[in-house]
């Protein structure tokens, strides 16, 4: 019996008991005897030569064990931080990948760039001593915006990257190449209508609730290193530590990511700080711990987005999309973060078809170095940027040709009978019912009664606007071979081991990692459903390379589609072996054994043996076919999907704008999503809520802003505005699911959808409210001042 917690049930979260009672165990909760504390000396300058470093005063401070520098690191042959995805420019040359040392040696390229580390007996001692480290900087000219960095005469950030260009890329997938450009240009030449927009996708700070932390414990007696770290993918971290930076054999390194409080992408990478504490622990022979202060998180966690995009859409006389041109400048920061070059290219351009049958699309992207914190994947990672460009352009087209935006979308939808659908930008969409989703969202929004609501708002002195977005996104990046051809330097499979204990209880060792996603609950539901055992008899183990097989972790909404499928396939193997054991116990043929509700039964009879009895027989093999079958019941499956999965959905948002202050208030938000099959509706709803909050944050509140020179202006919550409960309306969420054929669970992924679909829905709504005043454009975040300025500019005819 699965109890009542099988697939499709809103099982209460197993992990909540410990989180709500304060018994979670995060990295900073782990303390080891003799541990010392690291504090990083960071550059206060956006760009400077490091001419020298004097640690003499710091070393005299109480409790200080060491002050270590980039030169010490080089002397110990520590490798630079690796780039995990190679991008090739359109002229065939590889992207410029400057060596990124964990501690700067000769030059710093952003504020917060680590220069040295102080190790001391207490955190305060380390911090006090760090203030006494005297770094001799020669300040250089600096630049923070990508467009400014591309201008002639801009300060050169890396010698090997003229014009600060990391890559100049065009997207020519097999489906379109080599005529993508000429075909698209032709579509524009022949268009009845052309829409053109210049869009800024604002830079964001990830802001996981738990700041990053690392505790490294090198045992000089055994040569073993254990790293406790805030990671979404401990095996990837171990791989990079062992092969690229620290250069130790993998059997000597264990990486543990215990409870982790949020990631949103920012905890994927192999960071300078965790490498440094590992190296320091090995060098000093004591455990070394570092826990970021929130202010450090603002400077040192990879940031998200930061695109400037020109998007153009061509339509024929019947309002069919015939072509799209997209030209994007992506700000990569002062160095390359691990996936920095991949996010604005191969995770962006392939989504630019949206849910539409646009036949010709041509995309170019320039990646540019600036004196800012490196950028990388942040919830959505390339797809929010793509969705924003497409859905802003579609709404603008609807305005230009005077058509209802829902009707314009409907007219261009890919139809249900066209799946699998090969998009011109290289994706093979799995399934979807776009019109069904649109209708569901319209119904929930009471679409036809908008004018009534608008009048009511007007009576209160407010301008009401409605905005729509229809997103599609790609989860569970796959397959490894295709990704490899596109430059990936890592595999994209996932793994699970199902360990059945003699009593019939089950442990799952998964390579996926939960930092808020509820694996302990949803993965247990899959096991309970498949094996017909009680939900409470399943334990999900993740996050410790010492316990789990080599998996790739959690990012890109891949856990269920890829990791869940690996688990599903391991359960297939358990079931298959169980069937053989049961056949022996029941003296029947394995082919005649049925497995339902936890019972192996000879088909058509009442002769049956329970899953628990089969498990016991496997470990106490007294009556067991030992000649044909190994004892034990433990199976592992690796799964490398043949394709991504493609969630999609329709979001409708209504806002009221106070034109006296520019304040935007969200009144209604409807989300109709297609996530494929759903394991736990409550968990999915929670993921949607979180994603929407982050997407709304980007649209209205959050802005990572630098001075033109590269000093971070929004370096704390005094200026960086996170969404709070009272900034958000009550979300109306619903699902209309078309299962994906690309995995046996039929699941797609739901973690990033909200952050992808919400920004264009909100901005389209704000523009809907402001258009009567003559406002045609606004960038994110649409803060009160930005809205007021847009209104003023329209009034004065600018």
């Amino acid at each position: 019996m699965s109890g009542d917690m099988g697939i499709g049930v809103s099982a209460p979260r197993t992990e909540d008991r410990r989180f709500i009672t304060g018994r979670g165990r995060y990295v900073d909760d782990i303390n080891l005897r003799t541990q010392q504390y690291a504090w990083f000396v960071r550059s206060p300058h956006p760009h400077a030569e490091v001419r020298g470093l004097d640690a003499a005063d710091a070393l005299k401070m109480p409790g200080v064990t060491a002050v270590l520098t980039g030169a010490d690191m080089q002397a110990d042959d520590i490798g630079s931080l690796p780039v995990a995805w190679g991008i090739t420019s359109r002229d065939g040359s590889p992207a410029v990948e400057p060596a990124y040392p964990a501690l700067a040696t000769d030059r710093v390229r952003y504020v917060g760039n680590p220069v040295a580390v102080v190790v001391a007996e207490t955190r305060t001692q380390a911090r006090d001593a760090a203030e006494m480290v005297n770094v001799d900087y020669e300040e250089l000219e600096s630049v923070s915006s990508a467009t400014a960095a591309m201008e002639e005469g801009a300060p050169l950030i890396h010698e090997g990257a003229p014009g600060n260009t990391c890559f100049d890329w065009e997207w020519l997938p097999a489906a379109m190449a080599p005529d993508a450009r000429s075909n698209t240009d032709k579509a524009f030449d022949e268009a009845a209508h052309v829409v053109s927009l210049e869009l800024v996708n604002n830079r964001l700070v990830p802001n996981a609730m738990e700041p990053r932390a690392s505790l490294a414990d090198f045992n000089p007696a055994t040569g073993q290193l254990t790293l406790y770290t805030t990671s979404q993918n401990p095996h990837v971290n171990r791989l990079l530590l062992c092969t690229a930076t620290l250069k130790m054999p993998e059997h000597k390194v264990r990486v543990v990511a215990p409870d982790v409080g949020g990631g949103f992408g920012s905890k994927i990478y192999h960071y300078a700080e965790e490498l440094t504490v590992c190296w320091a622990s090995r060098r000093l022979g004591v455990p070394v711990k570092w826990t970021a202060e929130r202010s450090e998180s603002f400077l040192a966690d990879a940031q998200g987005r930061d695109h400037v995009t020109r998007v153009e859409l061509a339509l024929d006389a019947e309002a069919h999309f015939t072509g799209m041109r997209v030209d994007t400048v992506a700000n990569l920061g002062g160095w390359l973060s691990a996936f920095g070059p991949a996010i604005p290219t191969v995770f962006y351009a392939p989504l630019l078809a949206g849910v539409y049958r646009t036949p010709n699309i041509y995309v170019t992207v320039k990646g540019v170095f600036t004196n800012t914190t490196p950028t990388d994947a942040y919830r959505g990672a390339g797809r929010p940027e793509a969705c924003y460009a497409v859905e802003r352009a579609v709404d603008e087209a609807a305005v230009q040709i005077g058509m209802d935006p829902a009707e314009l979308r409907r007219r261009n939808f890919i139809q249900p009978d066209e799946f699998p659908y090969q998009s011109p930008v290289g994706q093979l969409y799995d399934s979807g019912d776009f019109e069904g989703c649109l209708n569901l969202a319209r119904e929930l929004n009471a679409y036809e009664r908008f004018d009534e609501r608008r009048r009511q708002s007007q009576a209160r002195g407010k301008l009401r606007g409605r905005g729509m977005c229809f997103y599609i996104e790609a989860c569970g990046a796959a397959p490894s071979q295709a990704a490899g051809q596109l430059g990936a330097r890592a595999g994209l499979y996932e793994v699970a081991t199902v360990r059945v204990h003699p009593s019939g209880s089950v442990q799952v060792l998964t390579g996926s990692h939960s930092h808020g996603q509820s694996h302990e609950t949803t993965f247990a539901q899959i096991v309970a459903e498949r094996l017909g055992i009680d939900f409470g008899n399943v334990e999900i183990v993740h996050g410790d390379t010492g316990e789990i097989p080599f998996g790739m972790g959690t990012y890109g909404s891949r856990s269920l589609a890829v990791g869940g499928t690996a688990l599903y396939k391991a359960l297939d193997k358990v079931e298959e072996k169980g069937r053989k054991i049961a056949a022996h116990l029941l003296e029947a043929e394995a082919a005649d054994i049925e497995f339902t509700d936890g019972q192996f039964r000879v088909a058509g009879t009442d002769r049956a043996v329970s899953f628990g009895d089969v498990a016991l027989a496997a470990y106490v093999p007294h009556n067991y076919p030992l000649q044909e079958l190994e004892p034990g019941l433990e199976e592992t499956a690796f799964f490398d999907p043949e394709n991504f999965t493609f969630p999609s959905g329709c979001y409708i948002c209504e806002v009221e704008v106070d034109q006296n202050t520019g304040q935007v208030e969200l009144c209604d938000f409807v989300a109709a999503d297609d996530f494929g099959n759903i394991i736990n509706p409550m968990v999915v709803e929670g993921q949607v809520h979180g994603g929407l909050a982050q997407g709304i944050g980007q649209a209205l509140l959050e802005h990572c802003l630098y001075t033109p020179e590269g000093q971070l202006l929004s370096g704390s919550y005094m200026d960086y505005c996170m969404p709070r409960a009272d900034d958000l309306p009550n979300f109306v969420v619903a699902t209309r699911c078309t299962p994906t054929p690309f995995n046996p669970l039929g699941v797609k992924g739901c973690g990033e959808a909200g952050a992808i679909g919400a920004p264009p829905a909100v901005i389209n709504a704000v523009l809907g409210a402001l258009r009567p005043l003559g406002v045609r454009h606004i960038d994110m975040p649409a803060t009160p001042q930005a809205v007021w300025q847009a209104i003023e500019a329209a009034r004065s005819g600018e």
Partner: protein, 265 residues
Amino acid sequence: MREFNYYRAGSVRDAAKRLGAGGNAMLLAGGMTLLPALKMRLNEPGELIDLAGIDELSGIKLTRKGAHIGATTTHAEVAGNVELRAAVPVLPHAADAIGDPQVRNRGTLGGSLANNDPAADYPAVALGLGATIFTNKRKISADDFFTGMFETALGRGEIITQVLFPIPQRAGYAKFPNPATRYALVGVCVAQFKTGVRVAVTGAGASVYRLTDFEDALDSEFSEVALDGLTASSANLNDDMHAGAEYRAHLVGVMARRAVTMALD
């Protein structure tokens, strides 16, 4: 945070003596500004003198002169006080607009005034109502108290003990919050007394200030219409990533009108 000595004062006299004894001491009331500043090492006192144990500093009393509020009375106590709500509703209204429940349960009136954050709410109400600030040494009128950004007329060793707010005929406080901090991007307090109207603005400038042309207009007629055509000057107003001087000046006008509406409500 650096190490410091902690001293829990038993009386105002005790606190003042300690404050005068050197050792780079600072007073701790609610700590809602001071503690974050310590954590960020923006302030590094040798000693904190905690006023929390001094009962005489806390409490609310209404007399014919007005509302007497002790310096360590919390925002939540002011916001929830039934007598104040009846007699001078602008005070609990403004207190309820400060921060969030945690801040309101810790932060104090005296702490807010002594800190004189350019975006704090209480200075606008104190100046708008023409409050009198009592210290262990003297009394200071609100018009003389707020001298500049984070600057007040308080001398060394001087401790706010209570504040007297005169009761206006009517008053309102309208605030446009900074989206990130919820401090006042602009807050305007308008109060009408028999002697005239006072208009005080917080958030917009380096320190809270009075808007005399708005006062004059409202003196002749206390209504929104009286403010028609009046705009606030953007000269010397704050300019940051959330609001430039022009936008702040515009908001001063909008919030002043809303404060009048509230006063008339």
